[in-house]
C-alpha cells in the first residue's frame, strides 16, 4: 500500500503545481484563455490523432501477435524481436526519416524517381507515431494470447463454432485486458508526444504547450492547456476503468497451463510474409537507412569522445529508472488486482496521471517543488531517475497487471496455508509466473527512458548529456551527420537490451 501512496503523491505534485500556475491569472484572463476557438482545433486534432493511431497500431499489431504465438511459421522468435525493435527508434528520427523519404528531392525521388507527396501534418504524424508505438500493443497482445486457456477455444469448437467465430467470440473478448493496457499506453503517448508532431507540423495540445513554454513563455496559458490535457487524460482513464470493470480472467478450469497447438498458415503464408515485410520495412529499415545515409556524410572520426560520455549518461539514468519503476509497479498492480476496491483502483488510475502529464510540465513542476522543498536534489541524477519513474510508471503497470490477472489467487493461498507470510507467498508462488510481464515492463521503461527528451533537458545535472539530447540538438540545427552516431548508438543499445531480456525468457520456455 505504501509505495502506491508515495507514487500517487509524487504524481499529484505536478498537478497541484499546474493548478497553482493556472490560478495565478485573473478570472477574466483565464476565461479568455479557456474559451478560444484555437482550443477546439487543438482538441479535435489531438483526439483524431489518438483515435487514428489506436486503429493503425491495432491493425498492425494484432496479426503480428497472432502469427508469432499461434502459427507454425518459422523464425517466430526473430520476428518477435524485430517487432519490438521499433521501440528503440526515437520518434523524431522516425519523423525525419518519413519526411526525408517522401516528397520532391526525397530519398524515394532520388533513388527511384518516385515522387510521392511529402507526408506531413495529420497523416504524417499518424504514420510516424504508429510505426514506433505499435510494439506496446504487440507485446501486450502477445502475452495475452500466450496466457489464454486453450481449453476455452476447444470447448467453443466442440459447441459448433468455426475457428473465425471462436476468434471473435472467445479470443478477442479475453484479450480485452491486454488490449486496453496497450491501447491506454499508446493513447497517453499520443497525448504527450511532441517530437514527432512538431516535426510534422501538426498542432496538438502538447505541441502547443511546448511552444508556450519554450517560445512565448506564456506559462499561464501553457498551464491551462496542460490542465485541459489532464482533463482528456482523466476521461480516457475513466473510460478504461469502466471497460475493465468486472473482468476477471484468471483460469477457472482445473489443471495446469497448456499451450495452444499452433496452426499452419496455409495459403496465407505468402500474404503474411508480404505484410510482415511491409511493416518491418517501414518501421525499422526506413529509419535505419536514414541514419546510415547521414553517417555516410560524416567527415572525420565516426565515434568522438562525446559519444562514450553520452552513452554512459544514458545508461546510468535509464537502467536504474527501469528497475525502480518495475519495482514500484508490482505493489500498485497487485493491490488493484487482488484487493479491488474503489480506493485501490483510484490509486492505480492516479499512477497513469504521471504518464499523461506533459513531460515539460512534469519537469518544471519537479524543479519548482525541489527548489522549495529539497534544494539538494536539484540537478542531480537522483531527481532525473525519480522523474523518469513517475512519468513512465504507467508503462510498467500495464504488463505487470496483465500478468497478475492470469495467475490464480489460489496459488498464493496454497503457499500461505503452507506457512509462508503474505510477502513470501507472493514471491514464491506468483512472482515466478509474472516473469514475462516484469520483463516487458522493465524493457518498456528502459527504452522510453533512453529516448526521453524534454524531462532530460530540464532535470539533468549540468554537463549530463544523454544520447537523446545529442541527437535532438544536432538534428534541430540540421547537423544530421553529427546526430547519426548518437541515434545509431541508441538503437544498438536498446536492441541489445531488448534481445537480452527476451533471450532469458526463451531459454526458460
Amino acid at each position: 500500500m505504501l509505495p502506491a501512496v508515495l507514487v500517487c503523491l509524487g504524481v499529484l505534485i505536478p498537478f497541484s503545481y499546474l493548478l497553482l500556475r493556472a490560478l495565478e491569472a485573473e478570472m477574466a484572463i483565464s476565461l479568455d484563455l479557456i474559451i478560444r476557438s484555437r482550443n477546439i482545433t487543438l482538441l479535435t486534432n489531438t483526439l483524431l490523432l489518438a483515435a487514428g493511431v489506436l486503429v493503425a497500431t491495432l491493425l498492425i499489431s494484432l496479426p503480428l501477435a497472432w502469427i508469432t504465438t499461434r502459427t507454425t511459421m518459422s523464425g517466430k522468435k526473430a520476428l518477435t524481436l524485430l517487432c519490438v525493435m521499433p521501440l528503440a527508434i526515437p520518434g523524431y528520427v522516425m519523423a525525419y526519416a518519413l519526411l526525408g523519404f517522401t516528397g520532391i528531392g526525397g530519398t524515394l525521388d532520388q533513388l527511384f524517381g518516385i515522387e510521392l507527396p511529402r507526408i506531413s501534418g495529420y497523416w504524417g504524424s499518424l504514420l510516424a507515431i504508429s510505426l514506433y508505438t505499435f510494439p506496446y500493443l504487440f507485446l501486450n497482445m502477445r502475452s495475452g494470447l500466450l496466457g489464454l486457456d486453450p481449453s476455452l477455444e476447444e470447448v467453443s469448437r466442440s459447441l459448433g463454432y468455426k475457428p473465425h467465430q471462436v476468434f471473435y467470440r472467445v479470443i478477442l473478448p479475453q484479450l480485452r485486458p491486454a488490449l486496453f493496457a496497450g491501447a491506454l499506453i499508446i493513447g497517453l503517448y499520443v497525448l504527450g508526444d511532441f517530437g514527432a508532431v512538431s516535426l510534422m507540423r501538426f498542432e496538438t495540445f502538447s505541441y502547443a504547450i511546448y511552444l508556450q513554454y519554450a517560445a512565448s513563455y506564456d506559462r499561464v496559458y501553457a498551464a491551462w492547456l496542460a490542465l485541459m490535457l489532464f482533463g482528456i487524460t482523466l476521461t480516457v482513464l475513466i473510460i478504461e476503468y469502466r471497460l475493465l470493470r468486472g473482468l476477471f480472467f484468471s483460469r477457472t478450469g482445473s489443471g495446469n497451463q497448456r499451450l495452444a497447438r499452433p496452426v499452419s498458415l496455409g495459403k496465407w503464408k505468402y500474404p503474411s510474409f508480404l505484410y510482415i515485410g511491409i511493416v518491418l520495412m517501414a518501421s525499422i529499415i526506413l529509419p535505419l537507412l536514414t541514419i546510415f545515409h547521414w553517417i555516410g556524410q560524416i567527415q572525420g572520426p565516426l565515434f568522438g569522445s562525446g559519444l562514450m560520455a553520452a552513452l554512459g549518461s544514458s545508461l546510468s539514468a535509464s537502467a536504474p529508472a527501469a528497475l525502480l519503476t518495475t519495482t514500484l509497479a508490482v505493489p500498485i498492480a497487485y493491490i488493484s488486482v487482488r484487493c479491488p476496491s474503489k480506493v485501490t483502483q483510484a490509486l492505480e488510475r492516479v499512477s497513469y496521471l504521471g504518464y499523461a502529464t506533459p513531460p515539460l510540465a512534469l519537469a518544471l513542476a519537479l524543479i519548482f517543488f525541489t527548489l522549495s522543498a529539497s534544494p539538494f536534489l536539484y540537478q542531480t541524477l537522483v531527481l532525473l531517475i525519480i522523474a523518469y519513474t513517475l512519468h513512465f510508471l504507467a508503462e510498467a503497470v500495464g504488463p505487470v497487471r496483465s500478468a497478475l490477472y492470469q495467475a490464480s489467487p489460489r496459488l498464493e493461498e496454497a503457499a500461505r496455508s503452507l506457512g509462508y507470510n503474505r510477502f513470501l507467498a507472493f514471491f514464491k508462488s506468483t512472482f515466478p509466473l509474472m516473469r514475462g510481464g516484469l520483463i516487458a515492463a522493465a524493457a518498456f521503461v528502459f527504452l522510453s527512458a533512453m529516448k526521453e527528451l524534454p524531462i532530460t533537458f530540464l532535470l539533468a545535472p549540468i554537463g549530463f548529456e544523454t544520447l537523446a539530447v545529442n541527437v535532438w540538438s544536432y538534428s534541430a540545427e540540421a547537423m544530421f551527420a553529427q546526430a547519426a552516431p548518437y541515434a545509431l548508438t541508441i538503437l544498438v543499445f536498446s536492441s541489445l537490451f531488448v534481445g537480452l531480456l527476451f533471450a532469458k525468457e526463451w531459454k526458460r520456455s
Binding site: E413, S417, G419, P432
Partner: protein
Amino acid sequence: MKELLKVEGLSKCFKPDHCKVVNDVGFEVKKHEIFALLGPSGCGKTTTLRIIAGFEHSDEGKVHLNGKTLASSDQYTSPEDRGIGFVFQDYALFPHLSVFKNVLFGMRNIPREKRGEHAIELICMMGMREYMHRKPHELSGGQQQRVALARAIGPMPELILLDEPFSNLDAVLRQSTRDEVRLLLKKAGMSALLVTHDQEEALSFADRIAVMNEGRIEQIGTPEDVYYRPKTQFVAKFLGTTNLIPADANGAEAKTDIGQLTLNRPAQGKILVSIRPEHLTLHKDDNNAPGTSGEILSRDFKGHDITYRVRVKTRECLVHTDNRNTFQLGDRVKVSVLEPAVVLDKIEEDYSKVELLEVL
C-alpha cells in the same frame, strides 16, 4: 477423543445487504477424526472452509484450534500461522516447480537436512516416485491430486482442509483415491475436514458429517445417524432416496396412508415422517400377509436389488427389495414397514401438499 477444531457461531455475508452465506455455523472436529461438511453447491460450505483456513474473515463467530483462538471479533491469525493444511479443488500446484519441489515447498518447519528425505518418502507413499521431477502440467488429474495432498501433508499439520478434492477425478479413480487418502490420513494421525456435495463420498469417507443448507447446519452426526435418522426434510432428501409421508402421530405410533407405523421418537399431531425405500418390503397380496395393499406401477432392476414404485391408496412410494421374489407391473402387493419411521423436525410447507413420493 479430544476436540481439535472448534467453530462457534460463524456468520458471513459478502455484501452488506445480501443474505448470509454462512449463518451461525458451529461444530467440532475431534483429534484423528475425518469430518465432512456436506451440502448442495452454494450452501456456504466452501466459505466456511476458507474462513477456518483464514482466507476469508467472518463477520461473527470464533474458530479455535487446540484451545487457541484463531479468529474472533477482536482476533485474527493469518493463514500461514494457523498450521492448517489446505487441498484446493483445482489443486493449485505451482506450475513453475517440479513435483518434488512442490512437496518440499511447505516443509519449512522441518530441519533442512531432513526435508529432502521426508519429501521423497511422501512422494513414494503416494506412488509418485517416477514422476518426482515432472512439472505439474505433465501429470494426470489423479496424479496432481496426490501431489496436492502430499504438499499439504508435508509440514505435518494436525488438521487438513479438503475442498471437494475428489470432484475432478473419474469414478474409478475417485473410489480408490478416496480409500488411499483415508488410510493415509489415519496412518499419519491427522484430522481432516472435507467439503463435498457428494453424499456417497461423505458417507463413506467421513467419521462424522454436518449437513449444510442455505448457510446453516441442519444436522451433525455419524453417517448412520444422518442417513437413518435424519432430523429434517432437507437432510432426509439430500442423503438419498426417501419416502416422505404425512402422518398423524399419537406417542410412539402414527397413522398414515401405508398403515399404522412405529415412530423412532414420540410425537403428537400432524407430522412428516421419512422412510427409506430399503426399510419397506413387499409381499404377495393375500389375506394373511401383513401390510397395506397396493399396486406395482414400475420396476427398476439393478442386479443385486430391485426398486419398485407402488401405488398405495392415492399415494406412491418407493420400495427396495432383494431379487428373490419378483413382481410384474400391475401386480397387487402388500407393503409393510421393517423399521420405525423417522420423525422429521420441521415441516417447511403445508405438509398435506407434500407428495408421498420424493425422488432425488
